[in-house]
């Protein structure tokens, strides 16, 4: 509880600090409360000290003395110099020095197409780990799976699976997320290809140390 109280105080102090900073630009006196508040949050004190200095400088600037004006002039001059240098360096130099993840490829250059792996049909890939959704041993690219129809269920749903001689969807797919048993495949299991993928002999996209359970 004390920790929470401190946190509230600290947040309050930080808010007052911002307020103090903003108000200093309009030459409004800092509320006396901030001084007491900052006593509680010791870690804020140096920042507030710095803020005080900043405020004193701001006072000077706004009082219109010659030192303030010269700072503005210097800033404009610095901007001009930077702009001149930016114009002198050509974009080609920048492209040579900068390397994107694709190397020196132009921004609008198309990526090479990824290889197409044919679906391995007529054999079943064993699961790599127990909870892995089984892979699909046939092509599914023409199957319609949308809000109206799921063509996978034409063979894999009961009672069609018997006459089509296809494996039945796991019984777990007939429970909704509340654990209620349903007569049809549950809504959150509807889009088969979210978990099940056609089996292909694809290479890993990134090198990794994963080992299938069977090879351990």
């Amino acid at each position: 509880m004390t920790g929470d109280g401190n946190r509230g105080k600290r947040l309050n102090a930080r808010f007052l600090l911002v307020q103090d900073y903003l108000s200093s630009r309009w030459r409004v006196e800092r509320p006396a409360a901030i001084a007491e508040e900052s006593q509680g949050a010791g870690w804020l004190r140096p920042a507030i000290e710095g803020q005080k200095k900043g405020r004193s400088l701001a006072f000077k600037r706004e009082s219109g003395d010659k030192k303030g004006v010269s700072i503005v002039t210097w800033k404009i001059l610095a901007c001009l110099i930077v702009a001149v240098f930016a114009c002198m360096t050509s974009p080609a130099d920048a492209a040579d020095s900068l390397q994107s993840l694709r190397g020196n490829a132009a921004v609008n250059e198309p990526d090479p197409s990824s290889p197409i792996y044919p679906v391995r049909e007529g054999q079943r890939y064993e699961r790599s780990f127990l909870q892995q959704p089984p892979m699909i041993p046939h092509r599914v690219d023409k199957y319609e799976i949308d809000l109206k129809v799921n063509q996978c269920l034409r063979c894999h749903d009961w009672p069609n699976n018997a006459q089509e001689n296809a494996p039945l969807v796991s019984v777990s797919h007939f429970y909704d997320r509340a654990g209620t048993k349903l007569d049809n495949v549950a809504g959150q299991r509807w889009f088969c290809t979210q978990c099940h993928a056609p089996q292909v002999d694809a290479k890993p996209l990134v090198a990794n140390r994963f080992q299938p359970a069977l090879e351990k």
């Binding site: 049909e121 007529g122 046939h138 023409k142 319609e144 949308d146 809000l147 109206k148 129809v149 063509q151 269920l153 034409r154 749903d157 069609n160």
Partner: protein
């Protein structure tokens, strides 16, 4: 002629029955002026023009761009057909709308063309002029096509896909087993291949089952 002219001028309109009788009398009378050769030649040329025109009319209303002419087809089924295997494939052979939906032999083609007047009628009524109306009706429409395909033993499919010409050895295992099984059981293409060029209607699997059960009970193999 004078009498007829006078009567037409007097009464204004000739009674239709009398007009028909006069036309028939004209047609039934042997020609006194024209030679038989000229009549045959004119008849022959007129035949070419009219028969050609008739066939031209049939062909103009029998291609993809005509089918897409009404937005019901263009916005719904044509868009779904695009990129389907009958539109795009590795060999570039296409089957467009009439290849599957209009019979190729003359008799059945004429019958289908006459049926199509019903579709024109419902287009004019605006029965499916929005996507929502179309989707609501889609189950019935699909069932019409499925039933027609079952009645004709998928005749339009078989214009290109023949069981006899299928090299089962070049099919994958699943297709091979199922095709030989289907041939033995006397199944027809549409029994399994539904929604190949268009999206399926909602509840398609249930209505497919219902159709197969009722149809197979009425038409035992």
């Amino acid at each position: 002629m004078d009498q007829a002219d006078g009567m037409a001028a007097g009464s204004g309109v000739m009674p239709p029955l009398r007009l028909a009788a006069r036309v028939w009398a004209l047609l039934a009378r042997p020609s006194g002026q024209f030679s038989l050769g000229l009549l045959v030649l004119v008849g022959f040329l007129a035949g070419i023009v009219f028969w050609g025109g008739f066939n031209w009319g049939l062909e103009t209303t029998n291609n993809e761009s005509f089918c897409r002419g009404c937005h019901e087809m263009d916005q719904n089924v044509y868009r779904e057909y695009r990129t389907s295997v009958h539109d795009q494939n590795r060999s570039g052979v296409r089957a467009s709308c009439p290849d599957c939906h209009v019979p190729h032999d003359w008799t059945h083609k004429m019958m289908r063309k006459i049926q199509a007047s019903n579709e024109v009628f419902h287009h004019l009524l605006g029965d499916i002029d929005t996507r929502e109306k179309f989707e609501a009706k889609r189950g019935d429409l699909a069932k019409h096509v499925w039933t027609a395909m079952k009645e004709t033993d998928s005749r339009e499919c078989r214009n290109c896909h023949n069981f006899d010409s299928m090299d089962l050895a070049r099919q994958n295992e699943r297709a091979r087993t199922r095709h030989s099984q289907a041939e033995d059981e006397g199944k027809t293409c549409i029994d399994c291949h539904k929604g190949i060029a268009h999206r399926l209607p909602a509840g398609a699997l249930d209505s497919e089952r219902a159709l197969n059960e009722t149809w197979n009970a009425v038409h035992p193999k």
